[in-house]
């Protein structure tokens, strides 16, 4: 709440109604209030099932940020969420509700692991193998989600349903190969591809116990923010998102913009899959289907599809995920607790959308116009 009150103070002290500042304050205050409201709703839920909300939230704090170990755990989990959050945010800017991040992550991770097998066997050094893996993951993810954009513009297929169907198909493709042609015979209980081995792992950021995926996510977030808000491409994309017909009438290449935005999204999610394989699991298996793609949707909504804001929001959700284990053990609650919390946050957040432009405080006082 401190950020929120600080903003209010800032708006009051500014001389005259500064529209940009007011809108900025509004776009921070409403999501923060929505977070607080969803925390309250979840507290009611906890009280109803006889658990103590204060213990719950203090466990999230200690489990997520309390020690350097838990903080690094949080950042480790935030890394894929930044990338999948970006995967939702970029198409959202052009007006597409693309929810196929999960599939692109799984397929990207799988193809990265698959392309690594001959290179590891052939003794190709890691500094060649890892970039090839990363590029493969981004390309497959990009093409997979790019297909959604293409179908949307050129065939009129609803992108939300198509992207989710493609996610299911992507998971089936991975299972098909992991349990068949590319199965490592020694992976008895959990069918997996051949491990890439420790020499081929992506290391940690120096001085931290967090892999390079976090740095990649933050760099990409900044790059995509610049792309979407400071370039002609981003302007054209946002204009298309505002009114696709007007953009077409202006002669903008709407179809091309949609396909490219979707490809960027898929590349982000594919890169998340690469880091999951190369930094965490060391091989591709069902562990890739961990719901990062779906949590990324919520991350992006809370960040209001702003690539920079995706980073802190992803860290918040990383903390909730990191604290999940402690909450399970200490409070005797199932692992789905986090899912319920996320579901409530999602619903409350969407309800909060209705308040934009309706709170008097954030409206410029001099004129009656709303822009």
């Amino acid at each position: 709440m401190t950020a929120d009150t600080a903003d209010k103070a800032a708006t009051k002290s500014s001389a005259g109604p500064n529209l940009q500042l007011l809108r900025f304050a509004e776009s921070i205050t409403i999501p923060v209030l929505a977070l607080v409201a969803s925390a309250l709703v979840f507290s009611v839920f906890l009280l109803a099932i006889g658990k103590d909300p204060i213990t719950f939230y203090s466990l999230i704090w200690t489990g997520g940020f309390g020690s350097s170990f838990s903080l690094q755990n949080t950042l480790q989990r935030a890394a894929p969420l930044i990338l999948t959050g970006l995967a939702f945010a970029v198409p959202a800017r052009i007006g597409l509700t693309m929810i196929g991040g999960e599939g692109a992550l799984v397929l990207g991770g799988f193809t990265a692991a698959a392309v690594a097998i001959p290179m590891v066997v052939g003794g190709v050094p890691p500094f060649v193998t890892l970039p090839v893996m990363a590029i493969t993951a981004m390309l497959t993810g990009g093409l997979w989600v790019g297909l959604t954009g293409w179908l949307k513009y050129y065939r009129g297929v609803n992108e939300t349903i198509a992207s989710l169907l493609l996610s299911y198909i992507a998971i089936a493709i991975m299972n098909f190969f992991v349990e068949g042609a590319l199965r490592d015979p020694s992976s008895a209980n959990k069918p997996s591809t051949m491990p890439i081995g420790d020499a081929y792992r992506v290391g940690n950021i120096p001085g931290m116990d967090v892999h390079w995926g976090l740095a990649a996510g933050i760099i990409l977030a900044i790059a995509l923010w610049i792309l979407m808000s400071r370039t002609t491409f981003g302007f054209a994309a946002r204009m298309t998102g505002g009114n696709a017909r007007a953009a077409l009438a202006q002669g903008l290449p709407v179809g091309w913009l949609m396909v490219v935005c979707c490809m960027i999204a898929g590349a982000c999610a594919g890169l998340a899959g690469f880091f999951e394989v190369a930094a965490i699991h060391g091989q591709a298996n069902a562990s890739l289907v961990a719901g990062y793609g779906f949590t990324g949707i919520l991350v992006s909504f809370l960040a209001r599809h702003n690539p920079i804001a995706v980073v802190p929001v992803a860290i918040l959700f990383g903390a909730i995920a990191a604290a999940g284990g402690v909450i399970q053990r200490r409070m005797g609650m199932p692992d789905a607790t986090v899912l319920v919390l996320q579901g409530i946050m999602f619903v409350v957040l969407l309800v909060s959308e209705t308040f934009y432009g309706r709170i008097k405080f954030f409206q410029p006082r001099s004129t009656g116009d709303r822009i």
Binding site: T97, I99, L151, R155, G156, V157, N158, T160, I161, A162, L164, L165, L166, Y168, I169, A172, I173, N175, F176, E179, G180, F294, I297, L298, F301, P334, A336, T337, L339, V340, L341, Q342, G343, I344, F346, V347, L349, L350, V351, E353, T354, Y356, G357
Partner: protein
């Protein structure tokens, strides 16, 4: 004909009847909601929560039909919530659908944890194939009463949309909110009721999953049937009768994998399991820009714009 082919065909027939029922209920619910001009993408959440509630109630009370009713209630709750939120200005119904999907599955996994182990009483089937003297065919023709409920319901809906005042009001709200308002109809109320009722039906579809086929409760029970049913409604062009045939087609596609496995073809099991998704995608590609679909689509629907 080769006996293996016959076995596969019989298994697919039985599979089509069994697998199609949840598709049928979700599709009928979605059809009703979409006819009123709103889309509910969250019926997957209703399906999963309905499945869990049905199993839990059946286990606790010993009466599976009470479970079916409770599943409908759970679906009604989620549908009403969706309907209420979408009534607010500036709220995107597709995004609310995604949120309800995650909220519904979250609740189901949370409360369903203690019910994964125990065995609940299941729904009985009507043996319609005993006269054939063929055990495989008799097995395939074990039909659950809910299958017939779904068919009767679709005929009633088809008739009601054409011939009743309520059907006309729903269709008018879906085609043009402005004319509905001009006639003094509360658009928000009609859509709220249509979404809630659609949610009820989707919950019943979930009960079929946990109480009949596959007939147990676990977290991997539904694999996107709720979402596929949304695409199915577009394919069926918002016609309840066509929804039934589309559901049977999807059921048959979903039954290919298990049917081939029953004759020992397990190679490519995962590939055939993906058949319904691929089929849905192709159907959407084929029907999205067709002239027939453009004629039948409710005018207020955001999904086809």
């Amino acid at each position: 004909m080769d006996s293996a082919v016959i076995t596969v065909l019989i298994a697919m027939l039985g599979g089509a009847i069994r697998v199609s029922t949840p598709f049928m209920f979700v599709a009928l619910g979605e059809c009703l909601t979409e006819k009123s001009g709103r889309i509910n993408l969250g019926l997957e959440g209703n399906l999963v929560l309905g499945a869990m509630v049905a199993y839990a109630v059946s286990f606790l009370t010993g009466n599976p039909w009470l479970g079916v009713l409770a599943a409908g209630g759970a679906g009604l709750f989620l549908g009403a919530l969706h309907g209420y939120i979408c009534k607010l200005p500036k709220v995107n119904d597709i995004a609310v659908g995604i949120a309800m999907m995650s909220f519904g599955t979250g609740l189901a996994f949370f409360f369903g944890k203690p019910f994964i182990q125990p065995t609940a009483p299941r729904l009985d089937a009507i043996p319609l194939g005993d006269w054939t003297g063929n055990p495989a065919l008799a097995q395939a023709l074990q039909v659950n009463p809910l299958f017939f409920v779904g068919i009767i319901l679709s005929v009633i809906m088809w008739w009601a949309f054409r011939n009743t005042k309520w059907g006309l009001i729903v269709r008018m709200t879906g085609d043009s909110a402005a004319s509905a308002k001009a006639m003094g109809v509360s658009v928000d109320l009609v859509r709220f009721l249509a979404t809630a009722a659609g949610g009820f039906l989707a919950g019943i579809g979930g009960a079929f999953l946990s109480l009949y086929y596959p007939g147990s409760w676990n977290q991997g029970l539904s694999s996107g049937q709720g979402l596929m049913a949304v695409a199915l409604v577009i394919f069926a062009r918002w016609d309840p009768i066509k929804c039934i045939f589309a559901a049977l087609l999807f059921g048959a596609a979903g039954a290919i994998g298990p049917a081939l496995q029953s004759v020992g073809i397990s190679q490519g099991y995962y590939f055939f399991n993906a058949a319904p998704y691929i089929l849905t995608l192709f159907i959407m590609i084929a029907s999205a820009r067709s002239k027939g679909a453009a004629r039948e689509v409710p005018g207020e629907l955001s999904i086809t714009k």
